[in-house]
């Protein structure tokens, strides 16, 4: 059988469905940022940005950009009615203090035990940069990962043990890939859903760690 991978926008749309009303959420740079486009408008979802924003909104209209109103990805944003500004100490207290409900981050690799690698390839000539990745990984109540299931070279990104430098240990709760949704549990990696036409065996073959089939039907 043949199957169709999810596009980046489809992954973002899928994650958006799992964000409940009233959630305080930090969306990482890249694919996670796209999730904001798909958040249901009938819910109050509060987007947090490391640089001191809570309840920020979509990009401003052209010509209304304010260089002093940007998100962590250094993109222009707007504030929703009821939004607030605060300094970096408070911003990271929101994470580290366990007040943030969900962080959605990208990944180089995720290990079966929930270890996350997303900050550094470990290449000797690479300039390391970490930003808020380590704080989000340990601080948010739930860490969701969005990622391609395999690398461009076809190597699994979900692995038994990380080969890239770790960002946070045992921190990942759920993984959304272009092929499936996986819960990271103490019993192992449970596949909750997968794209139509993809067999569990095919999915397992593209994964570097043992999966448990928990799909419904």
């Amino acid at each position: 059988m043949s199957y169709q991978k999810l596009s980046r926008d489809q992954i973002a749309e899928r994650v958006a469905q799992d964000i409940p009303d009233g959630a305080y959420v930090n969306l990482g740079i890249g694919l996670p940022t796209k999730i904001s486009k798909y958040l249901p408008t009938d819910k109050d979802i509060f987007l947090h940005s490391e640089n001191g924003l809570l309840a920020f909104g979509p990009p401003p209209a052209k010509g209304e950009e304010d260089p002093e109103l940007i998100n962590a990805g250094k993109e222009y944003v707007t504030m929703l009615t009821g939004g607030s500004f605060f300094h970096h100490g408070d911003s990271f207290a929101m994470m580290r203090g366990g007040h943030l409900d969900i962080a959605v981050l990208g990944a180089f690799q995720v290990a079966a035990n929930g270890d996350l690698a997303n900050w550094h390839t470990g290449a000797p000539d690479a300039i390391p940069a970490v930003g808020g990745a380590m704080d989000l990984a340990v601080g948010a109540k739930k860490v969701f990962i969005t990622t391609d299931h395999v690398t461009k070279q076809g190597e699994p990104k979900i692995v038994e043990e990380l080969t890239y430098p770790v960002t946070g240990k045992h921190c990942v709760d759920r993984i959304y890939t272009d092929l499936c949704v996986i819960d990271v549990t103490t019993e192992g990696l449970k596949v909750l859903e997968k794209v139509a036409g993809l067999s569990f065996e095919e999915l397992q073959a593209l994964t570097g760690a043992q999966l448990i089939d928990a799909t419904q039907g």
Binding site: S49, E50, N51, G52, L53, D66, P67, E68, L69, I70, N71, A72, K74, M79, F85, F86, H87, H88, G89, S91, F92, M95, R96, H120, D125, I127, P128, A129, V130, G131, G132, A133, M134, D135, V138, G139, P165, V166, T167, G168, K169
Partner: protein
């Protein structure tokens, strides 16, 4: 009468000497005190240690300071950006030392200095390369890394308005590291768009109380941020 407002940026910066540790506010270019940085470049001091979230953008502000060769070491969380070519070149040439700190630990270490703490245990970074060789402790079921405060001789920050007592309010996401850096430096110099009369800032809305600020310098907002 106490008047912390100054008209000469050159004069307030003139106390900065070679080898100083200087915190510079800003997240990317938002909140970066570009005029103070230009003044620092003109002053021509060398061998500086700079604390900032990033390591400069484009060719202006902090990037220009790095390019001038004045900086020995930078302590930051996110040096590598699409427009960080000045830092990238210095780093690859071995001309600048980098201490990489997770962003929340950077904030917390700055706060620890401002609060007079000797150190703090943070969960961020535990088990990672950035905690290599550092003391750790298991507290109430969780693992923590011991991190020490980051203090500075000077903090250069950007606020929206200030008064002659040094009280400050900020503008949107340009606030970022300003309030905590003001607390962690021996001398804090704030550039503001406007110095207002005492009493014009509502006490309920003042973000940085004047006790943390030594100098307030108005810069012409029209000359802006050099962009």
């Amino acid at each position: 009468m106490i008047d912390k407002s100054a008209t000469s940026l050159t004069e307030v910066l003139s106390h900065i000497k070679d080898g100083a540790t200087i915190m510079i506010g800003g997240f990317g270019t938002a909140g970066q005190p570009a005029e103070l940085i230009d003044g620092l470049i003109e002053l021509g001091v060398k061998d500086l240690v700079i604390v900032n979230n990033n390591a400069g953008n484009g060719d202006y502000g902090l990037a220009k300071l790095l390019k001038s060769g004045a900086v020995r070491k930078i302590i930051c969380s996110f040096p590598r950006q699409s427009d960080s070519w000045v830092f990238d070149e210095l780093y690859h040439a071995g001309k600048i030392e980098l201490e990489l700190v997770p962003q929340g630990n950077l904030a917390c270490r700055i706060q620890a200095a401002g609060m007079g703490l000797g150190a703090m245990f943070t969960p961020t970074g535990f088990g990672t390369l950035l905690a290599d060789g550092k003391e750790t402790r298991h507290i109430d079921g969780k693992d923590y890394v011991l991190e020490y405060p980051i203090k500075a001789d000077f903090a250069l920050i950007k606020a929206h308005q200030g008064d002659r007592w040094g009280n400050l309010v900020y503008n949107k996401s340009a606030r970022n590291f300003g309030p905590i850096m003001a607390m962690a430096a021996d001398v804090t110099i704030a550039q503001v768009s406007e110095v207002v009369e005492l009493g014009q800032l509502d006490p309920e809305h003042i973000i940085t109380p004047g006790i943390f600020v030594q100098h307030v310098v108005a810069v012409d907002a029209a000359n802006g941020n050099g962009e």
